[in-house]
């Protein structure tokens, strides 16, 4: 390490941070690729099918084949499209999905940037992901894409409020905006994790997370039966693949945040077992499985039902529970949160 440091001289902090970024993003991309395979396999078995099993042993090379295929496809530019924005939209979708990982801790020490307001940072960065969808829909200059992007914008803005209020509950309980401190406040066995005292907020967060990532049953932005493929109907090849990557990276991000804020992150469920990053990955995998399970189980929500659920059910639940938390913290029951 010292030799490397000497070799790069003054630019060492830059090089070292870049190396850390690669160490986060490269495995993330591999996980995204295999999440698509896991999704097809899980949904396959839920529907009594086998799923992909031709490429490689039991289909393990399927994501590689898919990736190669998309890489070699032509990127079609619609003549009436706004070219620069059309090509910029996938970047706008993927960049926030990756930038948010900068503050996600994998253990008490393993975090790229341990900033004080990391929870706020994640909310701000993920709220920008919607621009990819909106700009893609508008720049395509196609009615289906445009309808998809309008639906998506309305849906994401609505659910972001419920999501934000759910996080307000968490930061009230943990007394901090820092993700490392939020996890450390849940130490001492699974009965200290926040999903118990904040159970309504946990449910609201999880469901809003599904809605924010435009996943089934909230995938009206794609809505195949009505608007073909929604906002990315005009995209092909790698440009489409980038939207795909962004969606799955966001799913993994939501599962990471759920496990950090409500399921104790890297803490072990029983106090005598050692803590470790493995626990966090296990919890993330569990939440991701829920995402796939939802998709195989529920039919797509109708648009007005989505709006009703977000505004008239989730936001009142979170507001009431924030008051409950505030009141409980003034009573002896406040120990629930510590």
């Amino acid at each position: 390490m010292a030799e490397l440091q000497a070799m790069f001289g003054a630019s060492w902090p830059l090089v070292w941070n870049l190396a850390k970024i690669v160490a986060i993003v490269a495995p993330l991309m591999v996980v995204v690729a295999y999440l698509t395979l896991a999704e097809r396999k899980v949904i396959g078995y839920i529907q009594a099918r086998i799923g992909p099993n031709r490429v490689g042993y039991h289909g393990v090379l399927q994501p590689v084949a898919d990736g190669l295929k998309l890489l070699f496809k032509e990127i079609v530019l619609p003549t009436a499209a706004s070219k620069k924005l059309f090509l910029f939209a996938p970047v706008l979708a993927l960049a926030p999905a990756l930038a948010a990982w900068a503050v996600v801790p994998f253990s008490a020490k393993l975090v790229l940037a341990n900033i004080d307001a990391s929870l706020l940072y994640i909310m701000a960065v993920t709220s920008m992901g919607v621009y990819g969808v909106i700009v893609a829909g508008w720049a395509s200059n196609s009615k289906y894409a445009f309808l998809g992007s309008l639906r998506s914008a309305a849906q994401i803005v609505s659910y972001e409020i419920a999501m934000g209020f759910a996080l307000v509950g968490v930061l009230m309980a943990a007394n901090s905006l820092n993700l490392v401190k939020i996890v450390e406040a849940q130490a001492g066995g699974f009965w200290h994790w926040y999903f118990i005292p904040l159970f309504p907020l946990f449910l609201v967060y999880l469901i809003s997370g599904v809605a924010e990532t435009n996943r089934a049953p909230f995938d009206v932005a794609e809505g195949e039966s009505e608007i073909v493929a929604g906002f990315h109907v005009e995209y092909s090849g790698m440009a489409f693949a980038v939207f795909f990557l962004a969606e799955y990276a966001n799913m993994i991000l939501v599962s990471a945040l759920t496990s950090l804020m409500f399921l104790g992150g890297w803490l072990s469920p029983l106090p005598f077992l050692p803590d470790g990053t493995g626990w966090m990955f296990a919890k993330m995998a569990g939440v991701l499985f829920l995402f796939l399970w939802f998709r195989a189980t529920f039919p797509r929500y109708r648009y007005d039902q989505i709006m009703r659920l977000g505004w008239k059910v989730f936001i009142p639940i979170t507001l009431v529970w924030i008051i409950v938390i505030g009141a409980l913290m003034q009573t002896p029951l406040g120990v629930l949160f510590h």
Binding site: L85, N114, I115, D116, A117, L120, Y121, M123, A124, V125, S127, M128, V130, Y131, I134, V135, W138, F146, L150, A153, A154, I156, V157, E160, S176, L177, Q305, R308
Partner: protein, 212 residues
């Protein structure tokens, strides 16, 4: 004179901010103008970060970029704006607009001139360590020293929300809205009637065959 890395960052952000601001008013397409406004907000948040106003910077991105501008774009994208019509009154409005603009620029120059806001007037804030919680400090100030102005602002905003909803809310008579509670309460007997019918016995085939 200036060798500080932060100064370079500031000037880079300031240049982007000014460029984006200029494009907001010069862009021909309203959607492009709105997107430049998003860029301007985002860059302004970067400049606030340099001032160690982390909470405000992140809140700016969260509220203005993440919510307000999304709704703004939503509206702008759906409008069918006739650009020529917008430009029609340009030369007529210019004789009034130009003096107003010059006056505003002069006023701003007077107030923001280096006499009152120069670097020697305002002390450089003390740098804080990385774990200093800007948010907690802001919350403490807001809910103790400035609690009455804060509550007043909240009430004014609430009035604005109620007024905006009251102005736009209208109940349509032809709406096909169904109360979800009633939908859930529906029982089988409301929709379906089971009628008992005696089973029909198939007639046994005769020896002649049933070709008749």
């Amino acid at each position: 004179m200036m060798a500080n890395f932060q100064d370079y960052v500031f000037y880079a952000f300031a240049a982007i901010l000014l460029g984006a601001g200029l494009r907001v008013i010069t862009a021909r397409n309203p959607v492009h103008a709105a997107l430049y406004l998003v860029l301007a907000f985002f860059t302004a948040a970067g400049i606030w970060l340099l001032l160690e106003a982390e909470f405000l910077a992140i809140a700016l991105v969260l509220v203005y970029v993440g919510a307000v501008m999304v709704l703004f774009l939503f509206v702008v994208m759906m409008l069918d704006i006739n650009l020529d019509k917008l430009r029609e009154g340009f030369w007529e409005a210019l004789p009034v607009a130009l003096p107003v603009a010059v006056l505003m620029a002069l006023e701003m120059a007077l107030v923001l001139g280096s006499r009152h806001f120069g670097p020697e007037r305002v002390a450089t804030p003390k740098p804080h360590p990385a774990d200093y919680s800007n948010t907690a400090e802001l919350g403490r100030q807001l809910y103790t020293d400035y609690v009455y102005p804060f509550e007043l602002a909240a009430v004014i905003l609430l009035v604005a929300i109620v007024a905006a909803i009251a102005l736009t809310l209208r109940r349509r008579k032809d709406t096909k809205y169904i109360d979800p509670a009633q939908q859930v309460k529906v029982k089988r007997s409301d929709r379906l009637k089971i009628v008992h019918m005696p089973a029909e016995k198939p007639t046994p085939p005769t020896a002649e065959g049933d070709r008749t």
